[in-house]
Symmetry: none
Subunit: 207 residues, 4 copies
Amino acid sequence: MPKNTFIGLHAEKRRRIYEGLIEAFYVAGYEAVTVADIVKACRIPRGSFYMYFEDKFDAFLYVLKHAQEEKMTYINPLLKRLDREAFFDIYEALVKAGIDYAEDNPKLVKLWMRFYHSSNYRLDDYWRQFETQAIDILKGYLLKDQARGYIRPDVDLLALAKMLYHIQAIDIMERFAQGVKTEAILTSVRAFLDIIKFGIKEVSDEK
Amino acid sequence: MPKNTFIGLHAEKRRRIYEGLIEAFYVAGYEAVTVADIVKACRIPRGSFYMYFEDKFDAFLYVLKHAQEEKMTYINPLLKRLDREAFFDIYEALVKAGIDYAEDNPKLVKLWMRFYHSSNYRLDDYWRQFETQAIDILKGYLLKDQARGYIRPDVDLLALAKMLYHIQAIDIMERFAQGVKTEAILTSVRAFLDIIKFGIKEVSDEK
Amino acid sequence: MPKNTFIGLHAEKRRRIYEGLIEAFYVAGYEAVTVADIVKACRIPRGSFYMYFEDKFDAFLYVLKHAQEEKMTYINPLLKRLDREAFFDIYEALVKAGIDYAEDNPKLVKLWMRFYHSSNYRLDDYWRQFETQAIDILKGYLLKDQARGYIRPDVDLLALAKMLYHIQAIDIMERFAQGVKTEAILTSVRAFLDIIKFGIKEVSDEK
Amino acid sequence: MPKNTFIGLHAEKRRRIYEGLIEAFYVAGYEAVTVADIVKACRIPRGSFYMYFEDKFDAFLYVLKHAQEEKMTYINPLLKRLDREAFFDIYEALVKAGIDYAEDNPKLVKLWMRFYHSSNYRLDDYWRQFETQAIDILKGYLLKDQARGYIRPDVDLLALAKMLYHIQAIDIMERFAQGVKTEAILTSVRAFLDIIKFGIKEVSDEK
DNA sequence: CATGAATGAGTCTTCATTCAT
DNA sequence: AATGAATGAAGACTCATTCAT
């Protein structure tokens, strides 16, 4: 939704503004950041901001979408493996890719956390929509796995998809934002997967 | 942290203010609500607000804490059963108690969601602290279950506690806020528990 | 329409603000004056302006209405003579009273001219309403005169009322604003009345 | 005062711009219209506007003057009858011509009303000048009539000219703008003329 | 000359907090 | 202690005009 004036901008300047936006939102968060902060971080005149974006919300949405697109370039190669492999088997690799992306764009992760935690009702709508979509995609992959016999037929895939999504969205990203080392995060992910795969019940208890 | 002036208030007036605060925060959310909105909803003079609370943040924190205390009165009776029963076996009852509380205080749930999603950094700190504490308590209960042989010894209890916490915090409350019927939510909770208890792996696959 | 906060103000301060408003609107006119100009002229803080008035329009309307009320205190005594005398015979005295008021409130006259000439659509509505009402009142007086046989029965009183109104509104006030002496204005008024009373036709021409 | 760049423009484009200006000023009025509105209505680049006109005021003045010239083409034929006929006898025809022009250019009439009612001090000056000139011309015609014995020698012609001018400027045009039918307006004009010609005094009253 | 992007001063309005009564 | 009027520092957004291409 940035205006055409922004789209038509020299790639270099567009990049500078993109990074300025990240910096500004990163420092203060969506609610607290002012247009004055933003134009300072982007090194553009105040009027130009309104040439490029409708308002603060428009600019924030642009950052989120652009960041999401960038993230997909990390993840897409992995998704090609899905024909041959179970989704579950590449999940850890997916998390790893997410962390790689996070390491390359550390400020964006904090930004993402703030987005995830925004109380602005317009963002809330966008977010809910994004979440629903992401969970749906996950569910689609899991359905294939279930068809291939990798997952018990009676497992509720929506519940499963939500668990996987939230683990990724909240725990992994939050811990990354807190500075936890990649290896520690991956260990933690394996713990989650272990529970999800095998359950927590003492087997001797069952039979 | 409300001031002594507030503590010393007639219980009835204190209640009116508590409900006014809920109403005000419920309608507009923490960031957007103004002190003018608040004093109007509480039917107190503007000056009195600053007699009772440090500022908006202080008032919000008061609501959250007070609400939390109220919620515990729904949950405490269940926790007494923990001596005899496995935590896991009362988890569904706990969720049910949470939903009961939510049904008695519907505005608070929306408020809670907003709180959970607030991007204010002061709230963020409080929230992180609250979350850590809640997860710790959960982990404590699970530890007992593990000791009693209800949970496999190699299960990562921190991971498990986080999963249980987030399921409750995000999925259950969010769905309640969206108006999903109690029974549907409980069915969903059972699906989560099923996955966590027994895992998703096709058994024939294993052996 | 000023807020209660303004109504409740100390009479002295209210007067100061009233005069500040006149000064501000007088210097720049309704469209061009800024709230900054106004609060400076009134010697009140910027925030106070919004405590007292809804906005610039509200403040302007207050000035107009208050001025109108003041003007009526000059005119009311004359209207009492209407029982005994023809409206036409006191018209000159009415104009004189209007000029007296104008001499006591010279800035208001320029303000009035500006109001009369405002292109703001909200003012336009108010103005049209005011004008219609004033012409109606005039017409009422003329109707009595016609009934008493002072005016030819076939004279269109609405047309007459409009002529009298516009002479007063535009010519007299405009000339006063331009600094024309009272006596000269009254001479001019007599010329208008002469035409209206006796017509312009050369009598020998008629018969 | 448009710049030479505008004068040199293709007649067709000049016409398009003229009509765009009318549209823009018509919709929003002089004070409220922005240069952005104008260039949009004229379908010219923003930069071009400043190639053609000094500023908004210059453009507005151009419209008024151009409109006035157009209006004269409706009125000029009538003025030729003045050698043989009394001005007063063609006044109604003049008003009719004015209404004809208004019917052909309805937006301009509203524009004219707005102009007449503008509080902008630069327009005010222009307006006063225009008004003085128009009244002077009227007075010139009336002088001839008086010399020919159509008007009593003691009638104040300046007063008379003003009355005729204001009747035309305010009442006729305003009523047209309000959508009053031509025939009704002409009836009203006759009522004005009747008063002015014959006066309002009950003749029997006099002698 | 033509264009439309760039500029930043200027405007209204809101609001948390203080303070006089 | 209780009240609600007073305060002025921000903040978002607009817009006439300039200027680089």
